[in-house]
Symmetry: C2
Subunit: 395 residues, 2 copies
């Protein structure tokens, strides 16, 4: 956490903490999609609680635990915009709660690490968010990861160009999202099954198949979608990729991927994700959501964010036997029982001196089986042992 | 937080995080005293919730938000004792929730920083907890603070010796707790008002008054309470104070104070508090609670803890215009609108280079009123500005 925090800070992000509880009205305002079904709701208290006349859950609850950090940030920004710098670059590392069935790798309380830039309309936001996130992952020791980037407007253009109706867009995207698992043929079958027009399905699938052979994906898409795609969208993607590469970071690639979808309906422009070869799903994701703050204030505020899944990162690091950089040398002082006052004082003074020099010193009573005790401490990472006895002779 | 974390780590404390929610049964098990009235309760979900037949709050709620960190730690230790080292030295920095009326300096969500040592029966625990806490406060820049130390068994001996009945002990303590505000005479009046025997009240008050003149408080108390006080209790206090002083830390004093009470009923031995001249109430407090883990496991485990009130510390630091040590140099890069790609790339590369050197670099678009923008950034702590223009000539 301190590596993540330090690096984000060097990019000018300010750490903020928003409350764990939000009013039930904000949480249930249809911005959280499926997550709204998973809210832990908090009972009203005192005179406000009327058990006898309550008909439904929201008669009993006045607040709930947040299911993400984006909603509390938007609410916070809406309340404090006038006091905050513009653009406002926020870092949040906080727990969120979802009432899911707990299972391996899925918790009901988990941590999100979000960076967001509010008030920046240009792609400077995207560039900074991507650079800050990739450099953080590199500081954590990751290499050979891939940033995939796309734009919700690109997905819209592809769907329009192929001839799907406007209200079919979301359904088409949900199927396209499976492309990496089922391939272009699989996408075709599912689109057909869903009952969309053969013509649109064939045009869409041919477009996806043609993409596989193209050397320059963005060039291919630009040329193919001519007329349906606003040139600004492809120029924007191209500029973001060029600028990220210009920063000279190594060890990862960034690539345009027109099949990247990202579930959240609130995205309005660029979307991005980071995937790692040795981990199934993405480890970080984000995008631009220019319409969310406006739902609180009435005034739209450009906004863009990138979130690292903390538990996912930790899972990979633990599997790789991650060594925390700058870890202190661990020393254990073993004190025989009933050490006389002056010898105890001596041990304490020596421990303090070593702590001041940056060592981690554990003071423990010496067990009868000293050998076993030292074995256990060795397993906990202690590399040096100092014994303190009541009588000098025993040394 | 990182200063606190780093210093506690050098004492061998391991940071753990326990869940924000606990089962309602654990939270309402009478270990939290008054705090149990302030629990935020969480509604049952799905099939478990029966609104129509519910009679009382606990028919509707199956869990709640924790009101302190000691209960979750004890529950955690009870579940995992066999896998944990002994002694187990835990650091927790986490939020707790209490449904109080919010007011200045009192929040419904606030942070506690607790260190606890479980499984250490000797006063090595007290000594380490006090040294770890005082050195942390010193690293935060505090000086001239005072550690007050007492023992619940000392309070009991004073009460017994004076002639109060056993079941009057808690009430006597509640009145004694006001000694620093109302003085010995005030304590006498309140004890009399409460209807206790004149003889006991006079003996108790005379004891308190005699203490004021004594040079060596512990010596005075030991001598006066002879017969009623177990010599082990005073020897223990004396040894803790000597050992803490032996560590050679400067800038604070430690003193025995027989009027220190500490509200929590779960303390079984030593109790301590830290007070600062420029802050009304205590900023840290703790003590030994050897009977709490046993309520979960059936086996008593020696336990001792010390908790810093995070918001209190922060309040004082902010009033003193606290400078965070090791803060990065803050630089702002101002980018003119529509900067051509190669100039944007140049700015990004320069920002990355400075970030790698440890500077904090903010990249922002240049506003029309550049002078005002720089003024605002200066107020936010930015000390260097670099302008990037579309055309060289403008420089």
């Amino acid at each position: 956490m301190s590596i993540i925090r330090e690096n984000y800070k060097s990019y000018g992000f300010t750490e903020i903490e928003t409350p764990a509880m939000e009013s039930i009205g904000n949480l249930c305002s249809k911005q959280g999609g499926e997550n709204e079904k998973l809210i832990f709701k908090v009972l009203k208290r005192g005179e406000k609680l009327h058990i006898d006349t309550a008909q439904e859950e929201n008669d009993l609850a006045d607040s709930g635990l947040r299911y993400d950090l984006t909603l509390p940030l938007s609410r916070y920004y809406a309340n404090h915009a006038s006091e905050l710098p513009s653009p406002f670059k926020a870092l949040q590392m906080g727990n969120v709660w979802r009432a899911e069935r707990p299972q391996k790798g899925r918790f009901r309380q988990f941590m999100q690490c979000d960076i967001d830039i509010l008030g920046e309309p240009t792609n400077l936001a995207e560039i900074e968010l991507i650079l800050a996130t990739t450099s953080t992952l590199k500081k954590l020791g990751f290499a050979n990861f891939k940033v995939r980037i796309n734009d919700r407007r690109m997905l819209r253009a592809m769907s329009d160009w192929a001839g799907f109706a406007e209200d079919q867009f979301e359904s088409v995207c949900i199927i396209l999202d499976k492309m990496d698992k089922i391939g272009a043929d699989g996408v075709r079958s599912e689109l057909k099954e869903a009952g969309f027009s053969d013509e649109a399905v064939e045009k869409y699938t041919a477009f996806l198949q043609g993409m596989n052979g193209a050397e320059d994906t963005l060039g291919y898409v630009k040329e193919t979608l001519q007329g349906a795609l606003d040139g600004e969208v492809s120029d924007n993607l191209s500029q973001i990729m060029t600028s990220v590469l210009a920063a000279g970071q190594e060890g990862f690639e960034i690539a345009f991927d027109p099949t990247l979808v990202r579930g959240m309906g609130y995205y309005t422009g660029t979307i991005f994700e980071i995937e790692m070869a040795d981990f199934g799903s993405s480890v970080a994701g984000g995008g631009r959501y220019d319409k969310m703050v406006g739902r609180f204030t009435g005034n739209d505020t450009p906004a863009c964010g990138f979130s690292i899944g903390f538990e996912r990162i930790i899972t990979i690091l633990l599997e790789q036997d991650f060594q925390i950089p700058g870890e202190k040398q661990k020393v254990a002082f073993l004190l025989e029982k009933n050490l006389p006052a002056e010898k105890l004082a001596d041990a304490i003074a020596k421990a303090q001196a070593r702590r001041n020099e940056g060592q981690q010193v554990l003071m423990v009573r010496m067990n009868k089986n000293k050998k076993f005790q030292k074995q256990q401490l060795t397993e906990e990472g202690y590399t040096e042992f100092v014994d303190f006895y009541c009588e000098e002779l025993k040394r």
